[in-house]
Amino acid sequence: MKQTKSIKEKLAKGMRIRRSVFAYPYVLWMAVFILAPMLLILYYAFTNDGGITVENIVQAASWDNLKVLIDSVRFALYTTILCLLLGYPVAYLLSQMKKTSAALLSVFFIVPMWMNFLLRTYAWKVLLSAFTKILYTESAVLLGMVYNFLPFMILPIYTTLIKLDKSYIEAAADLGANPAKTFLKVVFPLSMPGIISGVTMVFIPSTTTFAISQLLGGGKTMLYGDLIYMKFITEQSWSTGSALSIILLAFVLISMTFMKKAERTTSDEGGGRLW
């Protein structure tokens, strides 16, 4: 009896291993088209005429290039702040509505996310050149970025707010807090996880954006993505381009760990601060 059981267990175990076989085609794909390309970037970034070197990185980290990175971060920060200021009220008002009408209306705020992003940016180019004088200025680039990333701020905040336990708000009101105070002390802190994931979803892609600055800035505003493009395509300098990409990747990874950490502390504190 015992023996048959162990045979069966072995068989089952065998089947388990067999099932992981289904992942093998993907693992192969991943090795060739995800890992190998990244290794190539690393290779070009850290070699020079066949020898290993950090020279490319040092060169790429020149003051001029860092200024472009700082400029991109500045633009990304403005974009993030504007998206938060414009998007939070939208998410909040939607969350206050009746469930079915909110679900319907929220679809309209998310639809633009699925529309060709280049076409939307182009539409602004046409509009700005026909009706305003700000095309090919920094404001136009900023407008295009806010426009493109706004839904990515609204969505996570909205999902956090509708999940929020309404009894907290009732409790705050029962304990004598006016609506403004309830919002500041209860709703806003509890929506922090949504804000942080919204900030991540806006800040990181807008640091690395490419094409918006070219279409709406007319090449006058150079962002980090444009710089990488220039090195690779215009100058055909793969080692500098790769080194710039590595710096960008490092920056993105650092900001992401930072955001993750912030998310963890707020979701801990959010619960704790209430009591």
Binding site: M15, Y26, L119, V126, S245
Partner: protein, 269 residues
């Protein structure tokens, strides 16, 4: 009174934001029926832009490339990704975590870096064909989205089902086909839809990884300075909005029905 004022202000604000989000596209659509070449100068109604659209081979070619790449890449990514998720789910924790982390790379990586890394690979191995390049690139960035929409469904479903199917005489392949896949179908479908829309929309990765064969985004980018036929915005906007509204309205209605049902059940009890 205060309530009505509040409602008025919140309605106005939401309305203004919707105008901000939709105005550019809607104005382009209106302009696509205008005879004049310049915006803001209405000279008469015409379908000329649409006729011209279908007579411009670059646009029709780009349309065909976009749709076919989206269809093929999303289907391939869904098949590969679903099998991968099933395999990953059955792996030992350590292996699974390692592979899951690597799988997240294309989602974490800036599109720019993904595109350039693929470009370097294609140049390195000497793959010239632009269409194949686009397909490979799109399958690659679609895969993680499929995997991570299927994996949660696998975690919700029970491994017992698979084992029971084996005990009852299924081969592993049959068990996957008849038991596991129907169980995780919603995850597969949402992965497929997501992959399809991501592929339709992609510009940055296609721009760097591609070679000579343009999808719509690449076409718009290349012709933005000369001016893009405004009829293109209708062609892109209307189907996407219709599709999304149908999908979402259906789920909203189902949710409401479920709610009503649960209320009814509650009453009966």
């Amino acid at each position: 009174m205060v309530n009505r004022l509040k409602k008025f202000f919140s309605g106005t604000y939401l309305g203004l934001m919707l105008v901000f989000l939709y105005a550019p596209i809607l104005i382009l659509i209106v302009y696509s029926f205008n005879q004049s070449k310049t915006l803001g100068n209405w000279t008469g109604f015409t379908f000329d832009w649409y006729v011209q659209l279908f007579r411009t081979p670059e646009i029709t070619d780009a349309l065909v490339v976009t749709l076919s790449v989206a269809a093929i890449s999303s289907i391939v990514a869904t098949v590969l990704g679903t099998l991968a998720a099933i395999g990953l789910h059955a792996m030992k924790r350590r292996d699974r975590l390692l592979l899951e982390n690597i799988s997240q790379l294309p989602m974490v990586n800036p599109d720019l870096v993904t595109g350039i890394s693929l470009m370097l690979l294609f140049l390195f191995v000497g793959l010239r064909d632009g269409y194949t390049r686009l397909l490979i690139a799109h399958i690659t960035f679609n895969l993680p989205y499929v995997i991570f929409s299927v994996l949660p469904k696998l975690r919700q479903s029970s491994d017992m089902l698979y084992e029971a199917a084996l005990d009852l005489g299924c081969t592993p392949m049959q068990a996957i086909q008849k038991v596991v896949i129907p169980d995780i179908m919603p995850g597969i479908v949402s992965g497929l839809i997501m992959a399809f829309t991501l592929s339709l929309d992609d510009f940055v990765i296609s721009f760097f990884a591609g070679n000579g064969v343009d999808n719509l985004s690449m076409y718009i980018y290349a012709t933005a300075r000369r001016g893009v036929n405004p009829a293109l915005s209708t062609i892109i906007f209307v189907p996407v909005v219709t599709l999304l509204l149908i999908v979402n309205l259906k789920s909203i209605r189902e949710e409401r029905n479920a709610e009503l049902q649960s209320k009814k059940v509650g009453l009966k009890r």
